[in-house]
Symmetry: C2
Subunit: 338 residues, 2 copies
């Protein structure tokens, strides 16, 4: 399926490196110290040190998802990542988690170069990271919060659309509608997320003005992701319309269809209250589904692009393949628009 020789890839990469010097992409890749503007989403239960190190070693930005880790686990994961790559990597830190103060201390102590905050206001924590000389990016789902992130001192924003897997914004703005709004609202680089799984979708968000792309679901389907094989297989099997944004009264989350997702649908038909939904969700379902592979009772978080992903490859291949496809898609555009 992937027919490029290493030499061809190197040559395409070389070309990209040179051209990037002229551009805003350069700015993002310079800020982050990476070769290619591909950021791996820091997904709970799927992105440990193996995935992060593999993405960073391939020239993108790998990310450890701290949202599913106790402080001591996070420290261990960071140390293993540092041992596995000399390239910059990130930690994704949901700001609503109870142990956020301990997480921040560990991130500072362990000298993690890039911090991606989400699910909260970065204003409180930005000075700590900036004083420590770290690059800070915040995940947003609206132009309004992108502006707030810029004002708080963030170096870039990651703007994530409705089609993304996992927790999601309440506005339901899709990536196609969101990115131009965010690009117009801020002066810092914008990374697009949600609906990106290959080079043509990366080119599309760059056409909208994004400086780079964050991919989550695509990296779930890699050898290095810590997702359970059952979950990976379920994602491989996903068809159009097989994910749904649900539990909007709690925190909206995009889930793959499953017996648990059916239970949620039934709860709505039964006029469940918010308390009923909280009880049904309970605790630990994300771990159960994505990490332990329980496809019946587990919560399976994945994006709409799951419908068009059909291979399990290495994380480095994802980075290389996406870059090659990006340039190919660009050349196709050149044929009819110059």
């Amino acid at each position: 399926m992937f027919e490029y020789t290493k030499k061809m890839i190197d040559s395409i990469f070389q070309q990209f490196r040179i051209q990037a010097y002229l551009s805003t992409v350069k700015k993002l890749t310079e800020i982050l110290g990476i070769d290619f503007p591909i950021i791996q989403g820091g997904m709970i239960w799927c992105s440990g040190w193996e995935l992060a190190a593999a993405v960073s070693n391939a020239g993108g930005l790998g990310t450890i998802g701290a949202g599913s880790m106790y402080p001591d686990v996070l420290r261990e994961q960071i140390r293993k990542c540092k041992a596995a790559t000399t390239r910059p990597f990130a930690v994704n830190l949901p700001l609503i988690y109870p142990q956020v103060a301990e997480h921040i201390q560990i991130i500072i102590e362990e000298e993690v170069p890039v911090v991606i905050t989400s699910a909260g206001n970065p204003k409180l924590y930005a000075p700590t990271f900036k004083e420590a000389g770290r690059v800070l990016m915040h995940v947003v789902s609206s132009a309004k919060f992108a502006k707030k992130a810029e004002d708080a001192g963030c170096d870039a924003v990651i703007a994530e659309g409705f089609e993304a897997g996992g927790h999601n914004g309440r506005e339901e703005t899709t990536t196609l509608c969101l990115i131009p709004q965010v690009v117009d609202a801020v002066t810092i680089p914008v990374i697009a997320a949600g609906g990106i799984a290959d080079g043509r979708s990366m080119l599309a968000v760059m056409a909208l003005g994004a400086s780079g792309a964050q991919m989550g679901s695509r990296f779930v389907l890699t050898h290095e992701s810590s997702a359970h094989m059952n979950f990976k297989q379920a994602v491989l099997n996903a068809q159009e319309g097989d994910t749904q944004l649900t539990l909007k009264e709690l925190t909206p989350v995009r889930l793959l269809n499953s017996p648990f997702a059916d239970q949620v649908k039934q709860a709505y038909l039964d006029h469940a209250t918010i308390e009923d939904l909280k009880t049904l969700l309970g605790r630990g379902r994300a771990k159960k589904g994505m990490f332990e592979g329980d496809l019946l009772e587990g919560e399976l978080e994945i994006g709409q692009v799951s419908a068009r992903m059909n291979n399990l490859i290495s994380a480095g291949e994802v980075v290389r393949q996406t870059m090659v496809e990006l340039l190919e898609a660009k050349n196709k555009l050149n044929v009819f628009l110059t």
Copy 2:
């Protein structure tokens, strides 16, 4: 705001015409007999002959929305359109409407060059249109139905994403996720719809492999659209998150926030049955809202892009401005990717 001289625009258009000969866009523009691959969506109550003729005269494909017209009104609208333009134009025909047979007869008799069917299966009617030598396109919200449309003999498909205004697919697939799937599923040209309102969003869908773009909401905000001025003003005022896909148990429809939309929300909180929802919706609310300007009781159908549209211009300006922006956005991409 729009600083291009006519001469500059003509030159850019000339350039596009030449380059288009090399491409799949050529194929679409040739099939339709138009200059630029911009299709105006055939929206109920907003797109009569004035809008359709203006778009066609500017080199795009104007469309009369038959969904809100009695047969005699449709015939009159078609005749007025033919008197106002010598260029090809289309009629959009929802196949679920009771008077569809009469509509089809009129479309054939009046020699409408392009027919866009939606909301139903084109298989039944395709032979009639094809035997009469008409171009037939069908609106879909999934790759599965795109394939069916191709098999039925359609010349192109219009693939419309979740962010689009008005009636919408049940899969909730966004344009960014939908277009690559549809492009991979069919060999006929694919026109993207939903979330497109300017050149950069048009470039984005072309990066995904679309041969052209259909814009609806953008053309509501034109002098020639038959939308009521109150509705146009409400669209101008729309902010992020101000539209919502609702009434999913009936036919999913994207509405602008309004007192009627609030009534629908309250009905859900009160555990309304499908019958309750039907009773609440009643008949004629779309006309009341969009055509008569009743912002309290009317149904206001508009896309998510309403949040980033802020001017009321002529339909011809929309076509020209979009093409200029498309080429500008393309040149920006060229700076960092070649």
